[in-house]
Point group: C2
DNA sequence: AGAGTATAGGTAGAACTTCGAGGTATAACG
DNA sequence: CGTTATACCTCGAAGTTCTACCTATACTCT
């Protein structure tokens, strides 16, 4: 991620990836594109962040992977959410909302 | 921070500390209490996170420190924002807002 | 007087994440 | 045939936060 972005990205990456995968089976390279596209270029996911994250999520049983052909006729590793991943996503979204609420409380505090 | 919290805290701690200090000179121990109080116990800042963060911010010239007596009659290191710290806080708040907007775009995407 | 708790400061090492920089390989295009 | 886009990957550096510890003073309770 670009420096300014990465400062704040920490901790949200897994949630964002799980969310994109929740929209339907998709391969790694396309996940980065989707995230960049939907966030209107705010997030620019580097491959050095993407692939380790995907492996992490797969190792933890949150994602299932399968090799298939992409739309462009090439091999791609397609990821889908496991039920564990779906629960994790729900929990992370809830936690994200509680976090932003808590941060708002502090930022809006005027002495 | 409690495990669940810390996952998402990354990157926000400096901003929160700067914001609390912006409300008026305050010593380290009291910063942690204020943050916990205002966030309604969502954030429980550990000393092992607090003090290194304060030293970091001081080293970067964002905070100025001065030893004074606390309300309870003890020595405390009081922190205040430098002008550089004030600018940094503004920038971090702006960036935080852009981040939450970008995350919202992704979380609200329904395929 | 002594014990315990809250206040106030701090450090060291581990764990984890992300990034930057590199590598491999195929397909498509000029 | 060279370049660009796609698609996968790894490694090491850098940074942050946490856990676990340490010191010391003030206050409260017995």
């Amino acid at each position: 991620m670009g420096e300014a972005r990465s400062e704040f990205l920490k901790g949200t990456l897994d949630m964002l990836i799980l969310k994109i995968v929740a929209l339907g089976p998709i391969h790694g390279y396309a996940i980065a594109q989707r995230i960049q596209q939907i966030s209107r270029d705010f997030f620019q996911l580097q491959q050095g962040s993407l692939y380790p994250a995907l492996h992490r999520l797969e190792d933890r049983g949150l994602l299932k992977a399968e090799w298939k052909m992409t739309e462009t006729g090439r091999e791609g590793k397609f990821y889908a959410l496991s039920s564990k991943g779906r629960k994790k996503l729900e929990a992370e979204v809830q936690n994200w909302e509680r976090l932003t609420d808590a941060v708002s409380l502090i930022l809006r505090t005027a002495e």
